[in-house]
Symmetry: C2
Subunit: 212 residues, 2 copies
């Protein structure tokens, strides 16, 4: 298995956590996004969308972090990342999608670049934008995690899974942008519980081969 | 079953298509987003995130359109919305996520409102933003659909499924914002094929009880 990754990409970080939780070994192929390497022809042939991550397994290319993680769970079922019960599956998927559809897309590098390069917003406005979408999404997430009885040591019960895999990279990003996390005690608690685990440590940006 | 919906919400539109493809009946509960009805306490109790859609099934509340659709497919498996093969599942999920994670979140009402109300961009800049993200996402999608051998009459083979359910509402939105679709012949062809089907017709915004 080969993972096209970049240490700072949260989407790649999600897949690294899933691979580590499953105990799967893989070759790490670094695509240096900050240097524009995703636009070079060699990588365009791997992913015409110029994004990471891409996972290569059984000589096939797999796209989109949440789809890749579900592929991994369907292919290497132990330990499970998604619960078996269909209502529980909806819960963890919907928690993950709050992050993947409502926070992360608004705050990734290409969007921030559009704000500064095309719309000519100030750094202050860019940071306010970033904080606004993290805070909006985390408020929703905190409310659900704090009030729903299925929350345990992790987002869903006492084992890490699909929602935690999405949460931890987003919290790391929020910290990098100095978002105040004190209104989100459940999120902070779960993030800390995750980061005690070897799988999450191994997947962290700062320990990747291409970390700067 | 009860669907909290709004005629113009693309996320609700996706779930309506899935319900229609499965031949499932449901009560239609209209939440008039344009009038701010999602913020009223009655609906906040249903969805603290103030978003549609929410599906109620077996007295349980289900969130997030893509998670709801997968719930429906796991609960009412015929006709299938996702393929059985795990590589094929990755394909349709990754196509759907291009739309759900990379186009739709950037162009929904609350984001456009932030651009105009907070960042004070002009109407022209707002439209350029909208067109930019649709065109970027559709370029990636068109490339995959036009070059991957699994594409058939629909996004994946000759039956409509998960990717088509995400595509059709996004195309409808793009048309509403007058995005030029001539660079995307495969997308236009598949959208037309979908819209010939009763399930897609029944789910369309203009025939919903709350259409204006």
């Amino acid at each position: 298995m080969k993972l096209y990754s970049y240490f700072r990409s949260s989407a790649a970080y999600r897949v690294r956590i899933a691979l580590a939780l499953k105990g799967l070994d893989y070759e790490y192929a670094s695509i240096q996004i900050a240097k524009g390497k995703q636009f070079e022809p060699e990588y365009a042939a791997v992913n015409p969308q110029h994004l990471v991550p891409v996972l290569e397994d059984e000589r096939k290319l797999l796209y989109q972090s949440l789809a890749i993680i579900q592929y991994l769970d369907e292919t290497y079922p132990e330990p499970r990342i998604l619960p078996i019960d269909r209502f529980e599956r909806n819960r963890v998927r919907s928690l993950a999608l709050i992050i993947a559809c409502e926070i992360h897309p608004l705050n990734n590098l290409r969007v921030l670049k559009y704000l500064t390069d095309v719309l000519k917003v100030s750094d202050e406005q860019k940071n306010a934008w970033y904080h606004h979408w993290v805070t909006t999404g985390f408020t929703a997430l905190e409310h659900r995690l704090a009030t729903e009885p299925q929350t345990g040591r992790f987002c869903h019960g006492d084992k890490p899974g699909f929602a935690d895999i999405s949460l931890v990279p987003q919290v790391a990003n929020a910290r990098r942008f100095k978002v105040d996390l004190t209104p989100f005690p459940t999120i902070v608690r779960i993030d800390a519980a995750c980061n005690e685990l070897e799988a999450f440590k191994k997947a962290a940006p700062q320990v990747q081969p291409d970390a700067e």
